[in-house]
């Protein structure tokens, strides 16, 4: 049973809904945004009823994603505070990627890599918002000087690309770490999974027992 109550609850239904809403909005914003960045991706505008519609809805998709992300940020921030142990985890990340986790310090609910990703995504979202407002021609660009519009176009493109890179990494990490996609889909994880990947969190919620 996917939601066997003996399993450990990792993500509540509202956390999952919030995560997947953000994910869908991210995909829509990224696919529409790529089409303005590089002509190679211009055919993606066909997913959004053509170039003009893509131009019209991309900023609204971005704002919707930002709101959904902001809810997620406000809620998950408490679990993503970097500790010395997380920094230690990050310094051993190459061994981890090589398949050797013997030297990894015990991860809590989130490991150092997940926390770093969380903060990098938060910074990218904030910069995408600020630069996006400046280059939103239909409503805001006329309020800003030309140099700032040019600068913001570069910032928006750069952090859009960085954001997509971070998300590709996030998706791969989820595929690589078996059962973590199920955790975000159904909410519960096996005790063995928790002990393997997040030992400190496992101890915290089970009191150390099996």
């Amino acid at each position: 049973m996917k939601n066997d109550p003996k399993k450990l609850l990792r993500y509540t239904p509202s956390e999952r809904a919030n995560h997947w809403l953000t994910a869908i909005l991210f995909f829509l914003a990224a696919l529409s945004g790529l089409s303005f960045f590089e002509p190679l991706y211009y055919p993606l505008t066909m997913l959004f009823a053509g170039g003009v519609w893509t131009r019209i809805i991309h900023p609204f998709l971005g704002v919707a994603m930002l709101i959904s992300f902001a809810v997620m940020y406000a809620h998950f921030r408490q679990f993503n505070v970097m500790t010395p142990s997380d920094r230690e985890w990050l310094s051993h990340v190459r061994e981890m990627a090589g398949g050797d986790d013997r030297n990894m310090p015990e991860a809590g609910k989130f490991n150092g890599g997940q926390k770093l990703l969380f903060w990098l995504m938060t910074i990218s979202m904030a910069l995408l918002l600020l630069s996006g407002i400046v280059i939103w021609r239909a409503y805001f660009s006329p309020l800003f000087p030309l140099w700032l519009i040019r600068f913001s176009a570069v910032v928006h493109a750069a952090f859009g690309a960085i954001m997509i890179g971070l998300l590709l990494f996030h998706i791969y990490a989820a595929i690589w770490t078996k059962e973590s996609i199920e955790a975000m889909l159904y909410g519960r994880v096996r005790r063995a999974w928790a002990k393997q990947h997040h030992p400190a969190w496992f101890r915290e919620i089970t009191g150390g027992g099996k």
């Binding site: 003996k6 089409s35 303005f36 960045f37 590089e38 002509p39 190679l40 211009y42 505008t45 170039g51 003009v52 893509t54 131009r55 019209i56 990627a97 090589g98 398949g99 280059i135 021609r137 239909a138 660009s141 030309l146 140099w147 519009i149 040019r150 600068f151 176009a153 570069v154 493109a157 750069a158 690309a161 997509i164 890179g165 590709l168 990494f169 791969y172 595929i175 690589w176 770490t177 078996k178 059962e179 096996r190 005790r191 063995a192 999974w193 002990k195 393997q196 990947h197 099996k210």
Partner: protein, 293 residues
């Protein structure tokens, strides 16, 4: 303007060769500021030929009317009263698209074919392909394209590409009563400008010269200026314009770099998965929780 053309040198957001089977001579509209009397016949002719009608504006107490380029006013006379070593001078410049050899608007445009450059040098907007993003406005070194509030398309001077295509001169040049606007091949216009400049120099304008903006590879609208050393006197005509390095970064090197980085990242992930295998729960821990499975 949309015309089937076989003489397109550049096409926006297109990395392959556009149809350029036919080569035409490079043309230039030369505007001799020293001959301009500020009558605005060129503005009227532009409206007439292109059938654009701007909204009736308000009087701002100056001759400039309208006060700025708009989606319906593709050329405007700019009047500047300046103090020079010759005393008070009244400088009148016909403002509009310069038709750069290296057009910043075309470089910035993300919509394939919305901006084209013909082999005669004219940079033309094809509004039916325009998506209204305004990137050309950020790309232009001369602050020329204007976004229409009605249809969210950008508009600017076409250098009467439709007239030029059939051997006519632009409407503004046709109508100019003092001969301040002349039109011809780039070579001929240089020759004409040289004559005008030596005339101006003989009349005491020691710094008279041509404005051809080498920073954007030269332009297909050139000025003869009495004070070529100070183009900014002419209502802020840009001195040494070029495509902003930020625009070059944004619509230049960044594009292939980012695509290559995405490709390398995805390939790297696949290789990592097939060489290192997935990150699973260890046998040891599985045994420990055997009863749970």
């Amino acid at each position: 303007m949309a015309l089937q053309s076989l003489d397109i040198t550049r096409r926006s957001a297109t990395s392959t060769q556009p149809p350029d089977r036919r080569k035409t001579q490079e043309v230039v509209k030369l505007i001799d500021v020293s001959k301009c009397i500020g009558c605005k016949a060129c503005q009227a002719a532009c409206m007439e030929w292109n059938d654009t009608r701007d909204v009736i504006g308000a009087n701002h107490g100056v001759l400039d009317n309208p006060m700025d380029l708009t989606a319906a006013s593709w050329t405007v006379m700019r009047y500047s009263e300046v103090e020079t070593d010759r005393g008070l001078e009244w400088l009148i410049r016909k403002d509009g698209c310069m038709h750069c050899s290296d057009p910043g608007c075309l470089k910035a445009c993300p919509a394939p074919g919305a901006i084209v450059q013909y082999s005669n040098g004219i940079v033309d907007f094809h509004e039916e392909s325009c998506i209204g993003c305004g990137y050309c406005i950020a790309g232009c070194p001369f602050n020329i394209p204007r976004l229409s509030k009605k249809d969210s398309k950008v508009y600017k001077c076409t250098l009467c590409s439709d007239r030029v295509a059939v051997g006519l001169e632009p409407a503004c040049a046709k109508t100019c009563p003092t001969g301040a606007i002349v039109f011809g091949t780039k070579e001929d216009m240089y020759h004409h400008a040289e004559g005008r400049i030596s005339d101006l120099k003989s009349r005491g304008f020691a710094k008279a010269g041509i404005y051809d903006a080498p920073g954007v590879g030269g332009t297909h609208v050139m000025y003869v200026l009495q004070h070529a050393d100070k183009p900014e006197l002419y209502h802020g005509l840009v001195k040494d314009p070029d495509i902003s390095p930020l625009v070059s970064l944004w619509k230049g090197v960044a594009k292939p770099l980012v695509t290559m980085a995405f490709g390398a990242g995805i390939l790297g992930a696949v290789m990592h998965y097939v060489t290192k295998g997935p990150n699973e729960v260890s046998e040891e821990i599985e045994k420990e929780f055997k009863d749970e499975k």
